[in-house]
């Protein structure tokens, strides 16, 4: 039996958290001691939904003490508060619905490979295209939507890089795990329904798009240096409006490290399409 802390960082999640709670209610936990912890980066009455929805798993809820700290910092905060005595953390997006057997599958994978720091559940029904090894399940990086994290590895790696507000912090954590001798796994049969990207047709996604590209540029600055950043910004210049790229440049100058890490590892690699990291299946 393991102690598992399920971590959910909320942001304006009132409309989506109901289905997550239903998924958590149906989640098989085996004999594990599972507690769910919510951190709200943008309260909008989500706590009322939590209070009014029955959940058999014990849970906690708190509003972020520092406002919207972002995805990675939010999980770092939760891990610092609740992850100390847990063997595993299960990171879940508020717009995700875990399949009922997802957690047990992820734990089995983590136990099979003691060096696995991260075990990712496949997103469903629109599956991520990144490549993985069918035999070892090794993959270059794990997405944070539904991710089992070995607590001791998370602590040893120092958690997420909080300079990344949203997007790419999971790629960075995965690369650091590989470099430090851990492995990253992708279990295609542990599944998590992820709907929100598709859901709000009229929603303004400009902030998300900004952070997506800022994250991409930061990752290149941190791991590869100037040429990779210049190449990426040139790609953005070709594909995005000028004001969007200008804002990325300004924010990148504020957070980018002075020198790249200069680490060479077979798993730390970009993709020529400028969108993916590492090889893809399609």
């Amino acid at each position: 039996m393991s102690r598992i802390a399920v971590q959910v960082v909320l942001f304006h999640s009132r409309s989506t958290v109901g289905r997550l709670l239903r998924g958590l209610e149906l989640l098989q936990v085996g004999g594990h001691d599972v507690t769910v912890h919510f951190l709200d980066n943008g309260p909008d009455g989500t706590d009322e939904v939590l209070q009014s929805t029955p959940l058999r798993l014990p849970w906690t809820y708190r509003v972020s003490p520092r406002g919207n700290v972002g995805f990675g910092a939010g999980h770092n905060l939760l891990a610092a508060e609740h992850g100390g005595d847990a063997e595993y953390l299960l990171l879940l997006n508020p717009d995700a619905i875990p399949f009922d057997d997802m957690l047990l599958r992820l734990v089995v994978r983590a136990r099979e490979d003691p060096r696995a720091a991260l075990v990712e559940a496949a997103q469903f029904p629109v599956e991520h295209q990144k490549a993985f090894d069918l035999d070892t399940l090794h993959t270059d990086w794990c997405c944070g939507t539904a991710l089992l994290v070995r607590s001791c590895a998370f602590a040893a790696l120092g958690g997420f890089d909080e300079r990344l507000f949203l997007y790419c912090e999971d790629v960075d954590l995965s690369w650091r795990a590989w470099v430090d001798g851990w492995t990253c796994l992708y279990d295609p049969l542990a599944r998590c329904l992820h709907v929100s990207q598709e859901e709000d047709l009229g929603k303004d996604r400009s902030a998300e798009i900004h952070h997506l590209h800022l994250g991409g540029a930061f990752l290149r600055a941190k791991w590869f240096g100037g040429d990779a950043v210049a190449d990426y910004l040139a790609f953005l210049d070709r594909t995005l409006p000028g004001d969007v790229v200008a804002r990325v440049r300004v924010d990148l100058a504020r957070i980018a490290p002075a020198r790249p890490l200069g680490v060479h590892h077979s798993r730390v690699r970009l993709n020529d399409d400028h969108v993916n990291y590492g090889p893809t299946r399609w």
Binding site: R19, L26, F99, L134
Partner: protein, 359 residues
């Protein structure tokens, strides 16, 4: 999640009991649970297979899926289905019915009978819906009241199906932009999971199709019949995924955006690779000949009815004339009676006191 306003949608899933079938159905139902425009009704139509092993009414009507003791294999799959549904309770709660016949014809008939929504999605347990499928297609049909079918693109995943689910190895995108519906008569076909059909049109078309047609022939036939009665409304988004085992023969080929694949002509559209086009053509010729025969028979019946109507008309005229004569006769007799009643002699006779008359 609150159901958005709009026409209600029924999702009919054809479930084929087989190894890994319940695992596939589970994923299909999870995808239904993720729909932004949740369906009003979800029906799982259990395909009885070639030997009709799943019970139901003795007259072939669909009913609650029940085990038939003589066919343990299928029963095991239905038992697995029964253990699956509680694991999804609250996310998606389908009605399970036994299809009256194998194939798309039976599943569609059972699904239509078990649902009422005005818009219908029919799909197999090898397919999953993307979250916006119902929202986009219902909106497209809402904007085009004359359209009978809405459709979008499909991702075809190839991979390994196992007892625990499907592992995707590769993906190909079927991008049916600007399908000209009349081309459906020539060669292309739309994957059913990427479509939404108006119930009335679906009922009319499905009832005309030969239930013994193979899966691809039936779905092609359906789109041909629908194309004959109404327009198609397209959305420029992939709305569903079809999963194929790598060993399977290619089911679909498609023109990619900005180009085309294989030896397909470049005009666009989705094309289905049917096993034998000649066989399909023969079936259609037979059906057309049968329909022509029916039409001639109907014409003969109509002519006979028309003659009968003319006879009846003549008879009605004669009866009416007789009635008028009778009426006139009644009026004259009444007039004479009144004259007699009010004649001076009769009046005087009534005024003479009875006593005097006696004296």
């Amino acid at each position: 999640m609150a159901r958005p306003a709009g026409d209600p949608v029924a999702v009919v899933v054809r479930f084929r009991p087989r190894p890994a079938g319940v695992a596939a159905l589970r994923e299909t139902l999870y995808s239904v649970a993720g729909l932004c425009h949740p369906p009003a009704e979800v029906v799982v139509a259990v395909d009885p297979g070639p030997h009709g092993t799943l019970g139901g009414g003795s007259d072939g009507e669909g009913g609650e899926a029940g085990p038939n003791p003589g066919h343990r294999g299928c029963v095991d799959h239905v038992d697995a289905l029964c253990t699956l549904l509680p694991r999804l309770r609250g996310l998606v709660d389908p009605v399970v019915v036994a299809a009256p016949a194998t194939g798309w014809a039976g599943a569609t008939a059972a699904g239509l009978r078990a649902s009422q929504a005005s818009l219908v999605v029919i799909m197999s347990d090898a397919e999953v819906l993307y979250p916006r499928q119902t929202a986009l297609l219902a909106a497209a049909l809402g904007r085009r009241p004359e359209a009978v079918l809405g459709y979008g693109g499909v991702d075809v995943y190839r991979g390994k199906a196992c007892e625990d689910g499907f592992i995707a190895i590769s993906r190909r995108r079927l991008w049916p932009r600007g399908v000209e519906r009349f081309l459906v008569f020539d060669r292309p076909c739309l994957p059913l999971a990427a479509c939404m059909v108006r119930r009335r049109a679906l009922e009319a078309a499905a009832s005309r199709l030969d239930a013994s047609l193979g899966d691809e022939e039936w779905s092609w036939g359906l789109t041909r019949l629908l194309a004959a009665v109404g327009d198609f409304a397209a959305v420029d988004v992939c709305v569903a995924a079809h999963r194929l085992e790598s060993a399977n023969s290619p089911g679909w080929a498609v023109d990619e955006p900005g180009g085309h694949v294989g030896n397909l002509p470049p005009e666009g559209g989705v094309t289905v690779a049917v096993g034998s086009l000649a066989a399909v053509a023969r079936r259609w010729e037979t059906e057309v000949a049968a329909l022509r025969g029916e039409l001639e028979e109907e014409r003969r019946r109509a002519a006979a009815l028309e003659a009968k109507v003319v006879d009846l008309g003549r008879h009605a005229v004669a009866v009416e004339a007789q009635l008028r004569r009778l009426e006139a006769s009644v009026v004259i007799r009444g007039y004479r009676a009144l004259r007699r009643h009010f004649s001076p002699v009769a009046v005087l006779a009534r005024r003479v006191p009875r006593r005097r008359r006696v004296c």
